[in-house]
Symmetry: C2
Subunit: 321 residues, 2 copies
């Protein structure tokens, strides 16, 4: 099969072996896959990953130990877990000690014609959800995770830092709680996508508000947490989404003196994200900057790395073998 293979650099392989599904696994023909900031970080060495990256995908189940899945269009949760460790048994499967993660940790990902995933990771999509929308399920789930970690009320004063894909999705998810967040970003044209009655926006250079109850840090920058500490009120909460290579210097005295809570946030609940897309409660179509064939990967990654870009998608024109 064709696949993008990362080993110090990214190359297109045209004859990579099609993976074989294990017990209780499915073989999925990938139709679309999105490029995430984590993929860009992986290409810089994050996680020390070697193999096929890509974890935001939609595809058709071709083989499965679960017959009801065969032929179905699915998205899939990216953590492949052991099911038996204390975290798996304690309803913290995403933190399984022995996990692999699709396209991120010890498992080939979705920038390829085929992937395998455990049957239990898969979610069947309604026909009303387009492939392009389905690619957003994984990042939208990560945005919904915020609502599981901090209570957002209509009266909450919430600030989202970062006008990238995740920041915009986070702001849209926050606004579902009848709360009007402020989105802080560097790009007028991105902020323009958000400006409506449910979300306020401001350019980072004009941003001076503080005393927010909740600050959602989605900047993708090592400086984002500092800005968040400036913006949050005493006893307020910072949700940290950004992973960047290396340690970050933080004024923890401020955390102590102001009794701030800082919570890391990673993957989220797929069912909530799928439902929100099905019910047209979160828009995603306006976040697509470009769609490319797998062969055009150099151009695709160049565009995805552009700071003005949002989501870049691979349309994988594969045919069943």
């Amino acid at each position: 099969m064709r696949a993008l293979l990362f080993d110090k650099e990214l190359n297109l392989s045209r004859d990579y072996p099609v993976p074989s599904p294990g017990k209780r696994e499915s073989l999925i023909r990938v139709t679309h896959a999105g490029i995430c900031n984590t993929d860009l970080e992986i290409l810089k060495g994050y996680m020390g990953f070697h193999g096929i990256p890509g974890h935001e995908f939609v595809g058709i189940v071709e083989e499965s130990s679960e017959s009801t899945l065969i032929g179905k269009r699915v998205v899939g949760e990216i953590n492949v877990t052991c099911g038996v460790c204390s975290f798996c048994r304690g309803h913290m499967q995403n933190h399984c000690k022995d996990r692999s993660v699709l396209g991120i940790l010890n498992k080939n990902g979705a920038f390829a014609e085929y992937i395998t995933l455990p049957d239990r990771n898969l979610h069947i999509l309604a026909d009303s959800v387009s492939d392009e929308e389905a690619v957003f399920v994984e990042p939208l789930a990560a945005a919904f995770q915020i609502l599981k970690q901090v209570e957002i009320r209509p009266s909450s004063n919430v600030c989202v830092l970062g006008d990238g894909k995740l920041g915009i999705l986070a702001a849209r998810v926050i606004s579902l709680k009848n709360c009007t967040p402020l989105l802080v970003g560097n790009h007028k044209e991105k902020l323009a996508l958000l400006e409506n009655n449910d979300i306020r926006t401001v350019l980072r250079s004009d941003f001076s508000e503080n005393e927010f109850d909740v600050v959602i840090e989605c900047t993708g920058s090592s400086e984002g947490v500092k800005t968040a500490l400036d913006a949050v009120r005493p006893e307020g909460t910072i949700i940290v989404k950004t992973t960047v290579a290396g340690e970050r210097a933080v004024d923890l005295n401020r955390l102590v003196v102001n009794e701030i809570t800082m919570t890391g946030s990673r993957c989220g609940p797929f069912p909530e994200a799928i439902k929100a897309i099905e019910e047209r409660r979160v828009e995603t179509a306006d976040l697509i900057t470009g769609t490319f064939a797998l062969d055009e990967f150099l151009e695709a990654f160049k565009l995805a790395s552009d700071r003005g870009s949002l989501k870049v998608i691979f349309k994988i024109q594969n045919k069943p073998d």
Copy 2:
């Protein structure tokens, strides 16, 4: 009056003016005052404080606008607040924007024969509480704050990092929840104070446990938060107590990937601390390393700075003017 005055260095003044209580304030004759790690940090430049340090005290009210306080033995909350800002009105008085803090921020403290504090900051002590015990009310309240910030159950797997005064008090407070915390410290003789059925102890050099539900960081060291990140489980909570000069480098990727919550913790509830001492539920007498007169301040601070020391107390032999 006699007072320890800090301005680049600490000196004893013998004729410092007795402070005048303002409206709704009391004049308190200090009988005992404890040296806290924060005082040691102040002497290194923390908070840029100049004036009389000291914030752990017990004393007798000599003058007050509240007649029922006169002659009473009291301890006092250290934050002097405006009462009208959004934080004061929002039950976050300790975070008042316009606050001063006894012996820490814009207000002379308790290493002196007299202090003033607002009447509403004062708590009258029962006769059963000794002066030496009363000096521990403020740090014990800071330990009780932990119980307001994270739920501790009998089954919680809790680790306290640091065998200083605050670490030991924190471990004792945690054990009140019928939970058996592990205290990690550098000093055999301090850990020996704690070893009983309610608290486990281990030397830092022998410490390798992890996956704690809750880690209480009381090391007083800039490395403490790193150790806490090693020790806490995914989705676990770190309570950060340590303030040290400067920023701290933290692996925030770990916070994000493991979805850890880190909460800063400062002052706490005086009533809980007073009640626990009254009811003899938290021992403090064994934490006193030495008692000194104000004139012996050099010796007192030298002993307090010794890593093997716990609480050093000034017995302030003053007489009413």
